[in-house]
């Protein structure tokens, strides 16, 4: 790229930014420019209703503009934009606190995997439905006996000629009771080596033989389910990738999941309290400094950590655009979720007893949300591969240490 090319791209991007800003100004309803509550998050799906008329209008305009998945190819309903442009849209939305019109692991995880591994028919059938919010997806990876050691999974799919017969159970399936379809890892060859007998299946949850039961978490929420498969017939065309080669699809999808989780907090539905603002509200100051030296020190540690994490996110993006390979993306899940946990712990310390409100009188919304987020922060260092497993991955794939 010559200097002239580069500067023209920069100019184009600046123009694009202005256009985005204008479009958002003209199209994002006022009510959609404030922090969202968990109840108002729209995940789409067959039975979904919009939380408000404005939310519907906002989603439809956004979808028609092609911005639900701005970087996906246009032939499946994506926006066909560059990563830089996608980033500009995000930044400009953030600037006016515009809500994300549609959430979903179809967008975050399955879509990218289908674009990479799915056949033409699968892309035609599923990608547009994800973008249009018509189908809500669940992730069927973990099993009661297979968490970190995912490849030990047992849920089996037998080849019955024209279909697979699925039997077994999946656990921690987020929102499975509200989802329309589930993507599952199933064992298709019990005799092969662990990773080599696994396939990646798409299953319609309306199929007979599927049941779900919710699980309550320490955060008081119960968006998680155990999902049971009892002689479920799945058409052959729902196999993604080759038979017994599902592990590579699974891994690619996990990369998206981890990236997403490393960015957690940046798009939280709850009222996000920033520690150094909380400090001003809840702590005593002397001569312009937080009087409690220990808390002040913890706060700087956290702020510096987040500053470093933020810059590293930015760097991974720039490296991706520049085509530079580095280990940074592989460490982000670990550092992002650990920092989030550190933050929650710090906020509780700063707020003292005001940070312990579970519900009701005596606590404001932000305080209660802080406690709920604290409880949720524990899940983040577990879901999508625990922190320990992340360190294993780094040791193996980045440092190439000998495996015992």
């Amino acid at each position: 790229m010559t200097a002239a090319d580069r500067s023209s791209t920069v100019q184009d991007l600046e123009q694009f930014r202005l256009d985005v800003r204008q479009w958002l100004e003209d199209n994002c309803p006022e009510s959609q420019r404030q922090p969202i509550t968990p109840e108002e998050q729209y995940f789409g799906g067959r039975n979904a209703t919009f939380p408000s008329e404005d939310a519907r209008i906002w989603f439809e305009r956004f979808r028609d503009k092609g911005w639900v998945c701005p970087e996906w190819p246009t032939e499946y309903g994506g926006g066909g934009l560059s990563p830089q442009q996608g980033k500009v849209i995000k930044e400009e939305m953030k600037a006016i606190r515009a809500r994300t019109p549609l959430y979903g692991i179809g967008i975050w995880m399955l879509g990218p995997a289908l674009l990479e591994f799915g056949n033409e028919a699968q892309k035609q059938q599923h990608i547009r439905d994800i973008i249009d919010g018509k189908v809500r997806w669940a992730q069927g990876y973990s099993e009661p006996g297979s968490g970190s050691d995912l490849a030990s999974l047992q849920c089996k799919a037998e080849d019955m000629g024209d279909h697979f017969l699925v039997n077994g159970s999946k656990i921690w399936t987020t929102a499975a009771d509200k989802c329309d379809w589930i993507f599952c890892l199933v064992r298709t060859d019990p005799d092969a080596k662990k990773q080599e007998g696994i396939s990646f299946l798409l299953i319609d949850m309306d199929d007979p033989g599927i049941t779900t039961t919710p699980i309550e978490l320490i955060s008081g929420e119960s968006e998680f389910c155990q999902t049971f498969f009892d002689n479920v017939r799945v058409p052959k065309e729902n196999l993604v990738g080759e038979l017994n080669a599902g592990w590579s699809v699974a891994k690619a999808l996990l990369v998206h999941e981890r990236k997403l989780m490393s960015e957690i907090g940046s798009d939280s539905p709850r009222e996000v309290v920033v520690p150094n603002q909380a400090a001003r509200q809840y702590l005593e100051f002397e001569d312009g400094k937080i009087a409690d030296a220990e808390l002040r020190s913890r706060l700087v540690d956290y702020d510096m950590e987040m500053h470093a994490v933020g810059l590293t996110h930015f760097r991974t993006f720039e490296e991706k655009v520049a085509g530079v390979r580095s280990a940074a993306p592989l460490v982000m899940k670990y550092v992002g979720t650990e920092a989030e946990k550190q933050k929650s712990e710090l906020l509780l310390a700063i707020m003292g007893s005001q940070g312990l409100g579970w519900e009701g009188e005596g606590f404001n919304r932000a305080e209660i949300d802080t406690l709920r987020l604290w409880a949720m922060s524990y899940a983040m260092t577990i879901a999508g591969g625990t922190s320990e497993v992340q360190l294993n991955v780094i040791a193996k794939n980045v440092l190439e240490l000998p495996q015992g």
């Binding site: 510096m304 470093a308 590293t312 940074a328 240490l401 000998p402």
Partner: protein, 379 residues
Amino acid sequence: MALVLNEEQQFLQDTAREFLKTNAPVEALRTLRDERNKTGYDSALWQQMAELGWASIILPEEYGGLDFGFLGLGVVMEEAGRTLTASPLFASAVVGASAILLGGTPSQKETLLPAIAAGETTLALALEEHNRHKPHSIATTAETTDDGYVLNGRKTFVLDGHSANQILVVARSAGDTGDSAGLSLFLVSGDAPGIQRQRTLMADSRNAANITLDNVAVGPEALVGEAGQGWSVLEPVLDRGRVAMAAEMMGIALECFERTVAYLKEREQFGALIGSFQALQHRAAFMQTQLELARSVVLQALSAVDETPEQLPLLASLAKARLNDLAQLVTNEAVQMHGGIGVTDEMEIGFFLKRARVAMQVFGDTSFHKDRYATLCGY
């Protein structure tokens, strides 16, 4: 794109790595130490480094500089950190040159900068008066006389102080010890009457000196920046130094880490390579996460020098604090993971450990920078 090196910078890095590995490996520092070399660095090597343009890397072309900016400097500092190369690069080409560049009169710039660029003249900053970094706690006095100033005081931890041709002395021309107002910077010849320089032998086998100024008389032309306004020059100079030192520490940490990971792959105990033990794997992987974060803050701080100087104070403190912690973590773990051999003088790991401890004190340790960062954030 601030956080990704461009082709030129990448090329510079490759050249620097190749050159230093060949001409100034850790072994060279060992030799300097064992021979108790008087200068503390190899003058011939420094001439070669200057010929490569490294002494002028941040200087504009009009002064014979390479004009590569701080990102360019950063890659060279990092490579020098990998080899623990002793040279006046930091004291003279970064700190000294920045002071003249930011505070010097046109005539100071014209005479000094090309000489610094050519590696002919070296500078050292005589700032500290305490065992810990306190940049405005200055008791050294500058009294006005009919022909200029008279300086009196004691300085410590003056990097390259015993060998530099010119000493940049921070002195108080007004105000009380502890004020940032009232400070002035003076350029004093290293052998001016009344100057006593005592070289100290420190942990890292590099160059630092204690300097005593006893009625040292200088003319008005020795003043760098305005009288009493020295802080406005000194603060950005210190920040540039902090960022450059952070880049060197990045190199120290990376090299030390890579050597350790290599050792984990070759040392066998209990019939297995020790790198297959998960307790060690997790500690190594954790270091990798910290190296990645450090990489980003160093790059951002380096690019802030040239592009967003208003953000420099915050970013310099972030970079120095984080790299202090990183260097400590990595060098400690490196020694531990090497086992017994790690505490022998024969093993070079110890050189990294010692250099890291000195680097950690240069222009502020972690608690200094945490305090500064918090203050800049308003708490």
